[in-house]
């Protein structure tokens, strides 16, 4: 019989809108978690897929020490990880009686494992996706080699002992990378043709790269097996999130943002459930007292209300799942259409997480209110002031706190991070609580001098100062999270946009001869092309630091390692400059004084090889050897598409040495066909097209921007729900007072005004506190989590209070207005 009562209560209460907030909070938390985790899983997979193109694989094993044991590749196959090999080295190539330094790339079938090759019929034209690799005896070469050697399709190209027929222009390689100095034009051949060239000899400088791709778990297993066996000197294991990938910072930040924001969203939704559950229980005090009076036993009533809640939860979770799937489908569809490719599908994880979250929230947050509800004495039917007693509020705090903590662990997967956030959150809330009480007390003083609506509002605030400070706390938290997500999103997007503006240089020109510097500058000017200055480049080697020779691979085996310091182990591209380049900032020391001899070192390099101001560095450049002191240390932003240098010398040292020059410039994509014509007069210069790479980076950033916008919308919805739940709950508390005032003849207008004023003050104070808390949180997040420079957000100091006052007052006014629309008689009846 009791289940019928349960069902009936649910049916009617749903119809009458009594459960709307509770159901909405549950629906939102499930919907948010599901759509968010599903979407972020799909997006992450998409991102990884996209980013993996930079490597042409999910993981790359770089080996400078020759081939790796075949059993490693066999192991990969056993684990279900696909592999391919890419061998690269520099060599001379000959055609039409001319020669050029090229980058030979010999690849096995399957390459590239991620991304694709594009080929074209003419240099510098739009390519099409290649199906497979060059055939035996064939080669695909980059456009700039066509320019250098005057090639045409069908020409023969000699490399080592072999002759290849040029069958295609290689217009795009996923793994072309950023390094402009080492980039001679690529000559792509099949691995089967490699041995015949006779270029792989003992001692020749060859890079063996092994590419791997597969399911994350399979990769993880393989990685665990492989890593302990690697030789740390000659072998390096690389994935897209490694520091030297241009996207790693953006990806890591985005991941952290998503995690943080979804955590906040869920905590907000959980808060809404908690507030709603509390209100739900309070509303049913009378019903329970009546049932007990009429002979209902506590276990029977407990069953009625438990089933009631269970049905509500089940229905809300189901609706939440449905909406979540729908929402993420719409968002994914939109994102896919923006990005031009389909996002990979998600697994079952998000469903479990979402349903688990819904059930956990409903169970844990309604347990205490429900237990309290069961404690309502039947005597309440005669003595209306009686409520539940005998249950410690600590139980409530423990249950709520435990649930939030559990959710945090579920989401972040890290107990330590959750603990830090949790303890930080509690401390912040206690401080906020203190501040809000102070504010409320102060506002009482101010209100006494104002008109009657204001006086009524302030008196009300003061009387309910305990409830109000709790309410203000939840208003503040909701507004703060809202502001936090808004500000962080803005910061991240600005940061990314700043790094890669739309007109970031998309071409490099290298190998410019000294006598062509002026004509080239003139050409840039004439054609209105925005270019960097032309930097001289002189190849050289670092030979000693403070008199101690640095290790060089070639001589490594002849002497004991301990006699050496860490160096570069390769040739460096050196330059000289009279002034500090625009994109660089000095970290230590002074820029060269006129006539001073010295070298300026990039800060990360200085750290890596352990050198500081005043250290003496010895270089060999051409036939000369010289030693100079380190005059200053520079920070360089490697994400800018500018020529950047580890070592910059004062002019006196290198000015007179023979140099080639380099610059980068921006050419709008629609002017691409002009390239050939523009550079026809500079036959020795080579062009490197980084438009593809830029586009790839922008794609990824667009992905991430869309994702965080989506997350932001969900957090705002969750915050809004908390506000609605809280306003509704607090207005119910004031209902009696309003009815009395109304009965005493107070006009609706006065009452709605008083309520609105009270909420305006509450909202504005909450907004102010929220802004303060937001600034502190952002400071901590920016400096500790996102590794960004900290900043103040003045606009939010206006936005916060205005937004808080506006939203809270509007909600308060609308609920109050709806309440006062009923006749006084109706209201009294409702109250009694």
């Amino acid at each position: 019989m009791w289940h019928k009562i349960s069902w009936r209560l649910l049916k009617h209460e749903l119809r009458r809108g009594e459960l709307t907030i509770m159901a909405a909070a549950l629906v939102l938390s499930v919907c948010a978690v599901l759509s968010l985790s599903m979407f972020s899983e799909r997006l992450q997979a998409g991102l990884m897929e996209r980013s993996a193109e930079f490597l042409a694989a999910d993981r790359v094993l770089r080996s400078r020490g020759g081939e790796i044991p075949t059993e490693w590749l066999e192991r990969a196959e056993v684990e279900g990880v696909a592999s391919a090999r890419r061998v690269t080295f520099n060599s001379m190539a000959f055609a039409n009686g001319d020669m050029a330094l090229v980058d030979v790339k010999a690849v096995t079938d399957g390459y590239p494992l991620r991304g694709h090759l594009e080929i074209a019929d003419a240099p510098f034209t739009q390519g099409v996706v290649a199906d497979g690799l060059p055939g035996r005896g064939e080669t695909w070469v980059q456009g700039s080699l066509f320019q250098q050697l005057g090639l045409a399709l069908g020409d023969e190209l000699e490399v080592g002992d072999s002759t290849f027929v040029v069958t295609q222009v290689l217009s795009h390689e996923p793994d072309s990378g950023f390094s402009v100095f080492t980039d001679s034009p690529t000559v792509l051949i099949h691995n089967d043709d490699l041995a015949a060239t006779g270029l792989i000899q003992p001692g020749s400088r060859v890079n063996y790269n092994y590419l791997f791709a597969g399911e994350p778990q399979a990769l993880q297993r393989f990685e665990t097996w492989l890593l302990p066996q690697l030789d740390s000197v000659t072998q390096r294991w690389q994935n897209i999130q490694d520091g030297d990938s241009p996207l790693s910072a953006a990806l890591t930040r985005a991941e952290q943002f998503m995690l943080l924001a979804s955590l906040l969203g869920v905590v907000l939704a959980a808060t809404a459930v908690a507030v709603a559950a509390q209100r739900y229980a309070q509303r049913n005090y009378d019903a329970v007292a009546v049932m007990k009076t009429l002979g209902g036993r506590t276990p029977q009533i407990a069953r009625i209300f438990s089933l009631h809640l269970l049905l509500l939860t089940a229905a809300s979770v189901a609706v939440g799942v449905l909406l979540g799937v729908l929402l993420q489908a719409v968002v994914s569809w939109y994102v896919s259409s923006q990005l031009g490719y389909e996002l990979p599908a998600a697994g079952n994880g998000p469903y479990l997480l979402a349903i688990g979250t819904g059930l956990l929230c409903a169970l844990m947050f309604s347990l205490y209110p429900l237990l309290r509800l069961m404690k309502v004495p039947p005597l309440r039917v005669l003595r209306r002031e009686l409520t539940a007693s005998g249950l410690s509020r600590w139980l409530h705090w423990c249950l709520a706190g435990g649930t939030v903590f559990l959710l945090m662990v579920l989401y972040s997967g890290s107990v330590i991070l959750s603990f830090a956030l949790f303890v930080g959150g509690i401390l912040a809330m206690l401080i906020l609580l203190g501040i809000s009480r102070l504010f409320i007390r102060a506002s009482r003083q101010a209100g006494m001098q104002a008109g009657s609506s204001w006086r009524l509002a302030m008196a009300g605030m003061q009387r309910r100062s305990r409830e109000n400070s709790l309410q203000m706390l939840s208003f503040s938290v909701a507004v703060m999270l809202f502001l936090l997500v808004l500000a962080l999103r803005h910061e991240l997007l600005e940061d990314w946009r700043g790094q890669l503006p739309d007109d970031a240089p998309n071409y490099f020109v290298v190998n410019v001869a000294g006598h062509q510097v002026e004509p080239m500058q003139a050409m840039f000017e004439r054609e209105s092309i925005r270019a960097t200055q032309l930097y001289p480049i002189i190849p050289g080697r670092l030979t000693a630091i403070n008199g101690t020779p640095v290790r060089d691979e070639v001589t490594k085996e002849e002497r004991d390692d301990s006699e050496y310091r860490e160096g570069f182990g390769r040739e460096l591209q050196l330059t000289w400059q009279r002034d500090l380049p625009a994109e660089n900032t000095l970290r230590a020391g002074q820029w060269f004084a006129p006539g001073e001899r010295g070298v300026s070192v990039e800060s990360q390099v200085a750290e890596r090889i352990d050198i500081g101001l005043g250290d003496e560095l010895s270089f060999r450049v051409g036939g000369n050897e010289f030693t100079v002191p380190v005059t200053n240390i520079r920070d360089v932003d490697w994400n800018t598409m500018q020529p950047n240098f580890f070592m910059i010398f004062s002019p006196e040292l290198l000015e007179d040495m023979p140099a080639t020059y380099i610059a980068s410039f921006y050419l709008p994509p629609d002017r691409r066909p002009e390239l050939y014509q523009l550079f026809r007069n500079f036959p020795q210069a080579s062009l490197i097209d980084v438009e593809d790479i830029l586009q790839q980076v922008r794609d990824v950033i667009n992905h991430v921007s869309l994702a965080i916008t989506f997350v932001m919308v969900l957090v705002i919805a969750a915050g809004g729900l908390v506000l609605i739940a809280q306003v509704q709950a607090s207005l119910e508390e004031r209902q009696q007072e309003l009815v009395i005032l109304r009965t005493l003849g107070a006009k609706s207008k006065l009452l709605t005004q008083a309520v609105s004023y009270e909420f305006i003050v509450l909202g504005a104070l909450a907004g102010l506190i929220a802004t303060l808390a937001m600034e502190v949180s952002i400071y901590v997040l920016q400096t500790q989590v996102f590794n960004m420079p900290a900043s103040l957000h003045w606009r939010f100091w206006v936005l916060g209070p205005v937004l808080g006052a506006g939203i809270v007052a509007l909600l308060g006014w609308s609920v109050c207005w709806r309440m006062l629309r009923q006749s006084t008689g109706q209201l009294i009846r409702k109250l009694s």
Binding site: R8, H12, R297, T298, R829
Partner: protein, 226 residues
């Protein structure tokens, strides 16, 4: 043997100003089928007496027996069962469950007691109180008088031996109050119920068989109504 018997009951409550005695060593016996009015000024302790006699609360000292069952020996759950079996209630503020319809409110006690065909009984009773056409209305769609009629129907559905009424017409205008009184006494007679009613209204009290006048926690007068 009386149906309800209170022997030297006292009820004290703790307040900030110290212990306050609301009822002191009060004894009363009520026979089956009697209609008893408890009257007295505000704060005299009449509602407290009602709550003790109905088993909603326990006395600080003394004992209460209903149908020979000693309430002091029963826990909250057992008292609830006893109320479900033997007692009906009508309150000044009606205390209908807002999210249930008139019909469902009336069915509720029968359902809680596991009665068969509660709906049929409830329909009959609602027809009897003149609300046969308003079964699916929610309490806030009914007037005060109508709500009290629903409450009366709810009180009688379990065919209780005893009916407790706390100011049943206190929230109603004189005319509606009179109609409710008539209905209450009519049903009381029909079902042979023992009625114990707290009221301010002397006129209403006069309709009962006996009046207990309470002052300062003690019975000032047992008066039989002629």
């Amino acid at each position: 043997m009386s149906l309800i018997e209170a022997k030297s009951i006292s009820r004290n409550v703790a307040t900030t100003a110290g212990e306050l005695q609301i009822l002191s060593t009060l004894s009363v016996a009520i026979e089956a089928g009697e209609a008893v009015a408890i009257v007295g000024a505000s704060g005299s302790g009449k509602s407290t007496l009602l709550s003790l006699l109905a088993g909603l609360d326990l006395p600080s000292s003394g004992e209460i027996l209903i149908d020979n069952v000693k309430l002091n020996d029963l826990d909250e759950e057992q008292r609830a069962i006893l109320r479900g079996e033997k007692i009906g209630f009508i309150f000044q503020s009606f205390l209908l469950i807002q999210s249930l319809t008139a019909l469902e409110n009336v069915m509720l006690p029968a359902e809680l007691a596991g009665a068969k065909k509660p709906e049929e009984q409830a329909r009959e009773l609602l027809a009897k109180v003149g609300l046969g056409e308003r079964l699916t209305h929610y309490p806030n769609q009914l007037s005060g008088g109508e709500q009290q009629r629903v409450a009366i129907a709810r009180a009688f559905i379990g065919q209780p031996q005893i009916l407790f009424a706390d100011e049943p017409t206190g929230n109603l205008d004189r005319k509606t109050g009179a109609l409710i009184e008539d209905l209450l006494f009519e049903l009381n007679r029909e079902f042979g119920t023992t009625l114990i009613m707290v009221t301010h209204d002397e006129r209403l009290a006069q309709k009962c068989d006996r009046i207990l006048r309470i002052e300062d926690g003690q019975i000032l007068e047992h008066a039989d109504v002629a």
